[in-house]
């Protein structure tokens, strides 16, 4: 990769990523690496590096992360946040970075499974209710416990939950999600320390 020119970077990218003002102390990052050392994903995929992601976002060049598969590997365990000397809530940055990636048609395949779950949750008022066969099992287990066969959730709850999906544009958004326009993502730095093109 040729020498990067700082003038080509996106000024204010940090605030574009953190559109919801959830990680307002990103500039307190000391680049100490405590997050990376505590990151279970980095230990398996060294090219996933929260410290470098913060630096890139602050420097105004996050495109390589948006195009990466790495950002979709984060477990959201907040091990980074737990040890951060400045309480930088990295998972909330990661969440928003993924939004930005998806807006640019990257990583859509990693959202697709949740389209189905989301739309089903809209009907149930519960997330991760399985299909018919799985429901039978749940009903059997619950009955054996002496509980109602299905979790006690009212018709009102389900109706209002659906309404909130519709009112916030979530239903329309979920229905629209498609991986047809997917731009491919890949592991950006296959060996961590070696920058392969």
């Amino acid at each position: 990769m040729p020498r990067e020119k700082y003038r080509d970077k996106v000024p204010g990218l940090y605030h574009k990523v953190d559109a919801y003002h959830l990680v307002e102390n990103l500039e307190t990052c000391l680049a100490c690496g405590k997050c990376v050392g505590n990151c279970p994903v980095a230990s398996l995929t060294p090219s996933y590096n929260p410290r470098q992601i913060i630096a890139d976002v602050l420097n105004g060049e996050a495109s390589r992360w948006l195009q990466s598969e790495e950002i979709w590997r984060c477990f959201w365990c907040a091990g980074c946040y737990t040890v951060c000397p400045n309480d930088i809530h990295f998972p909330l940055l990661m969440m928003q970075l993924r939004y930005m990636a998806a807006e640019n048609n990257y990583g859509l395949k990693y959202i697709m499974p949740f389209k189905r779950f989301g739309l089903r949750a809209r009907e149930d008022g519960l997330t991760f209710a399985p299909g018919e066969k799985g429901r039978e099992k749940i009903k059997r287990y619950r009955s054996n416990l002496g509980a109602s066969p299905w979790p006690e959730i009212s018709e009102r709850a389900r109706r209002e939950y659906r309404e909130l999906f519709d009112l916030t544009g979530t239903t329309a958004h979920l229905e629209k999600i498609s991986d047809e326009d997917e731009k491919s993502v890949g592991l950006r730095y296959a060996e961590g320390r070696i920058t392969g093109e």
Binding site: T28, C32, G33, G37, P46, N49, P85
Partner: protein, 346 residues
């Protein structure tokens, strides 16, 4: 015109700064009452095995000061003693001292006070991830000085470590669990301690985990480079995330931030450079003598009079902020100069 020197100075704290102030005030002909909470003079310096940037024996330095103090009959030493109460009357202090054991109280009058109550190390057990207080082989820097002395004198009961890891900024530069400030002296004493590992245990590995190494002082950079280049201490840039037990040893998990890779280092002993925080004595004396403190409890001087608060109270050493042995002596001397100028005008 030479006035009779009747005034008495009270020096609280018998560490290096307090001793220096005591010697200089007494040498000028005034009486000095030196109060020390511990049984012996010497403070933190008395616990040190070696010093930077010259690898000198701090005990020789202390010995020199002690000899000066012992030779001077104007110095009145009260060890195992604390200042219990102070009342300021007509430009002087009525002071009540309490000596242990037995809680023997004693009252005296002083015309000026030098506070030199020093620092203590941040309680590193707040960092569960480093295992201080959980794993016996995780110790703080002052505990390690004692270990160095044992090794240096060839008396050890425990097996010698094959690998020692030093973790800097434990409590310093940490707004989440500690303090935002840099404790200033840790980079240098850690370099010294790591270098001593290689001197005393040539077969052992020494790793220093650092975020930055700060060597701002005369000969400091050369000292640190020599530790790296001549003593072959491995400096790893990255603030460790976790210490875990494994097969009877400890492992340190971190990122090598130069290479951008997560790493593990095996160690038998882990030394935490815990933050420098004001000692309890510093907090107590600041309150008793009405000395303003910063938000952390370190004493603050008047805007244009460093090391001085009001007309008759001076302070020196680490009660103002972390300071090296040399700086502590300078500050002790400066406080003495303030007292002498004051006494000369009385």
């Amino acid at each position: 015109m030479m006035q009779e020197k009747t005034q008495t100075a009270l020096v609280v704290g018998g560490g290096l700064a307090g001793m220096e102030a005591t010697i200089r005030i007494a040498r000028a002909g005034y009486q000095v009452v030196l109060v020390e909470k511990q049984a012996d003079l010497g403070g933190v310096t008395g616990q040190l095995y070696s010093s930077f940037p010259r690898w000198e024996d701090p005990q020789r330095l202390l010995q020199n000061k002690l000899e000066q103090i012992e030779r001077c009959d104007r110095i009145h030493i009260h060890t195992s003693t604390e200042v219990r109460a102070v009342v300021q009357v007509d430009g002087a202090f009525d002071v009540i001292l309490k000596r242990q054991p037995g809680s023997v109280e004693r009252q005296l009058r002083a015309d000026a006070a030098v506070l030199a109550t020093g620092f203590e190390l941040f309680d590193a057990s707040i960092y569960g991830e480093y295992g201080y207080g959980i794993y016996p082989n995780v110790i703080d820097s002052l505990e390690f000085e004692a270990r160095l002395r044992q090794w240096g004198e060839g008396r050890t009961d425990e097996p010698l470590p094959q690998s020692v890891a030093f973790i800097k900024c434990v409590g310093s530069r940490d707004r989440s669990k500690g303090y935002p400030y840099c404790s200033k002296i840790c980079c240098m004493y850690t370099a010294k301690q790591a270098g001593l590992v290689k001197d005393l245990l040539p077969q052992a590995q020494a790793y220093v985990f650092y975020m930055d190494y700060r060597a701002a002082g005369k000969d400091y950079e050369e000292f640190t480079r020599a530790v790296i280049e001549d003593r072959h201490v491995r400096y790893v840039r990255g603030r460790p995330s976790k210490v875990l037990p494994e097969n009877g040893r400890l492992i340190v998990r971190a990122e090598d931030t130069l290479m951008g890779v997560p790493i593990e280092v095996e160690a038998d002993l882990i030394v935490l450079a815990a933050a420098v925080v004001p000692s309890q004595g510093t907090r107590d004396m600041a309150a008793m003598f009405g000395v303003p403190t910063d938000q952390y409890g370190f004493m603050e001087g008047d805007p244009f009079k460093p090391g001085q608060s009001g007309e008759r109270v001076f302070f020196a050493g680490a009660c103002g902020f972390a300071v090296e042995t040399q700086g502590a002596q300078y500050q002790g001397a400066a406080a003495a100069a303030g007292v002498l100028a004051l006494f000369a005008q009385d």
